[in-house]
Amino acid sequence: MKLTLKIWRQKSIDVKGAFVRYPVEDVDPEMSILECLDVLNETLILKGESPVAFEHDCREGICGSCGFVINGIPHGPERATTACQLTMRHFKEGDELTLEPWRAKAFPLIKDLVVNRRALDHIVEAGGYISVSTGQAPDGNDILIGKEVADQAMDAAACIGCGACVAACPNAAAALFTGAKIAHLSTLPQGEPERERRALAMVAQMNAEAFGNCTNIGECTAACPKEIPLDVIAKMNRDYLCGSINRRDDLPIPVAPVVG
């Protein structure tokens, strides 16, 4: 089939960008949208034009590298599907697809559909871990964790850090991402000792980056390719509130944000 890709082209953050329309022929319904871009890029390279820059790596929906907004929806119209697994059979002859990068102040553009998501690493750096050094661990079965608890932790831990939640949010908040890590670790007994401190530190870093505030709209969970539930945000807020009441003075200071 034939269709048109209307793609945001911008050489770098310092120059103005614009949409450019590219007709693509011989689109096979079984190819992914990334493979469709591969085909387009091959023709652009042979014509001496600059290929469309887009982020991708594993192409099986788990690394979290890929993602752009397709017709207004991060990762496109299919539920629980990353762009790399979105096949073209969901579109039809003559369709025009609009592709644009994640738009959020905390994700400065690098080129075309590629943005800088280091702010998400900073949030984890601030406290998204259990402080255990190599070699300090007791036997794996010393801490019994019921299946339901382990499953809940796993539901939250499934986040791939792609940033679609931020792109979907009208406020460009990173609450679902941050909440997912906090809920994963706080649900487990191993994460309990640092629970409040973790929430305070991670939320402080989230606020220091240029993310907006959460107003419980829920676009994030609807766009999430891993269907991270909205209740992780409630868990984050709870831990943050408890932490604020029991606040200690030695909390870490946020690192310099990506966008100052």
Binding site: K11, E49, I62, C63, I130, S133, G135, V149, M154
Partner: protein
Amino acid sequence: MTLDAKIPSGPIEQAWDKACFDMKLVNPANKRKHSLIVVGSGLAGGSAAASLGELGYNVKCFCFQDSPRRAHSIAAQGGINAAKNYPNDGESVFRLFYDTVKGGDFRAREANVYRLAQISGKIIDQCVAQGVPFAREYGGSLSNRSFGGAQVSRTFYARGQTGQQLLLGAYQALERQVHAGSVTMVPRTEMLDLVVVDGRARGIVARDLVSGKFSVHIADAVVLATGGYSNVYYLSTNAKGSNATAIWRAYKRGALFANPCFTQIHPTCIPVSGDYQSKLTLMSESLRNDGRIWVPKKKGDPRPPNQIPEDERDYYLERKYPSFGNLVPRDVASRNAKVLCDEGYGVGKTGLGVYLDFCDAIKRLGEKVVRERYGNLFEMYQRITDEDPYKVPMRIYPAMHYTMGGLWVDYELQSTIPGLFVLGEANFSDHGANRLGASALMQGLCDGYFVIPYTVANYLATNKFPKVEESNPAVQEAIAAAKTRIDKLLAIKGKRTVDSFHRELGKIVWDYCGMERTAAGLEKAIGLIRALREEYWKDVTVAGTADDLNESLEKAGRVADHFELAELMCIDARDRNESCGGHFREEYQTAEGEAQRDDEHYSYVAAWGYKGDNAPPELVKEPLEFHYVHPSQRSYK
């Protein structure tokens, strides 16, 4: 040149403890005076950088992705082995060791494998403590399953995302050290050369993939954990960015490359659907626990699978290997599928596929149980193929998946260049000629968390590290070489894209150095690869410039290295006149068509040394000795 593997003397059970005691330590106050470079942030690199940072070294960790959490370890689905024996089913350190040596078809080094089995339990403990949400029983204990041909249940897992969860554990440990200031993370940066000063690895040349700027990083030792080279084949289950450049540059600087022809083809992947295909998707091997593999008994049977009656189906693995059935090791399952498809029994529109059928499992266990066990995999299959595996059997075909070969390392994971350590899939050491399922995650974490912290200390404590200035001729030469290469690629301005060359190269390697190899085929492949490489350097076109984000340029450099490595793979495969594990030479098979090893002549590690672009590589042999597991013909019948 002779190779000293530095295997500790004495009983194998005490070898690692003895080595740990014999190795020198670095005083805690001196650790921060030592700088270390870790290239790669997957299970091996991430865990190494975190653990070394915790000890107090000054660590710089590099990855080409935008974040260390993207490393391809993340895509491992099935699980991680450990000799915990929680299920009380006969597991032991010795059994895991035994199975791994046997599974590797007696081409791995016993001492390394024993250490891996010994440490395996501690890995699980560490990951649990980090908060990795492993599957649990209702009573709260860790769940285990049997996996990939093992007769005991030793595999720990986190749904179908074990690699992801283990990697996030290592990533979080790494970010904790970034926060503590002991690790500096350098993402979106690619290593382009190794700096060797006075015979020792002292740093790397790197290129910032966004600005295109070159930089030199000097350290006391360099740790490579850059994964494998499956992408030589173009189509593989590896991530698109996975590449061999770091290990190949190290090879060209003097590190020996061991067993390059030992590659693993995974039996259960979604078949290729068209020419545009950019990568292959793996369906976890755990599916073989309940799925039954078959092809129609009639060649080219046009009927849909559900209309083919039971007695007209050939459940060929169950027929040929009654005791292991569908759970035979990967190399055996893959080759059988290939042979049947080549004979014309294949299914699907390309004829390159076999059925993996859950119909009996659903009858026996009910759809609910099947959904619980494999739901996410079934969904993934349906998303890609638009077919419902609860109703129609899956179609699967083997695909390139893992490379057992890699840079040669001794027991301390040090390459033949002093100060260059190699971990995880990037080294050759633990899997011999075939890796068992759920062993790669174990090896990556074993190397990173528990081996390198000891062995690197020994190296640092026993050597002096004079300051290396950027003006040092060796540094200048390495930067110039990296820059020249980039300029050369951009200057060709030919008529073919990098991808078109890469596809063609991949097809040659897949056809002649894939699941079945012959001396004549390999000879032909070497000629084809050389000719294509020559054409590449004359006719490739690379878009854009060197001063901004340019994926076309990144790929061009990686594919140039893949050409050279592909040739070495074929040379190694041609030289090894036997069949073992994933290396199946058609000339050497038993009467039943199984791999026929030649222990008398080939019980060695083939380590190849670079002698110049136009000179043949030099073969150095490390003889393998088996004191604990007696080599036997593998039989899964």
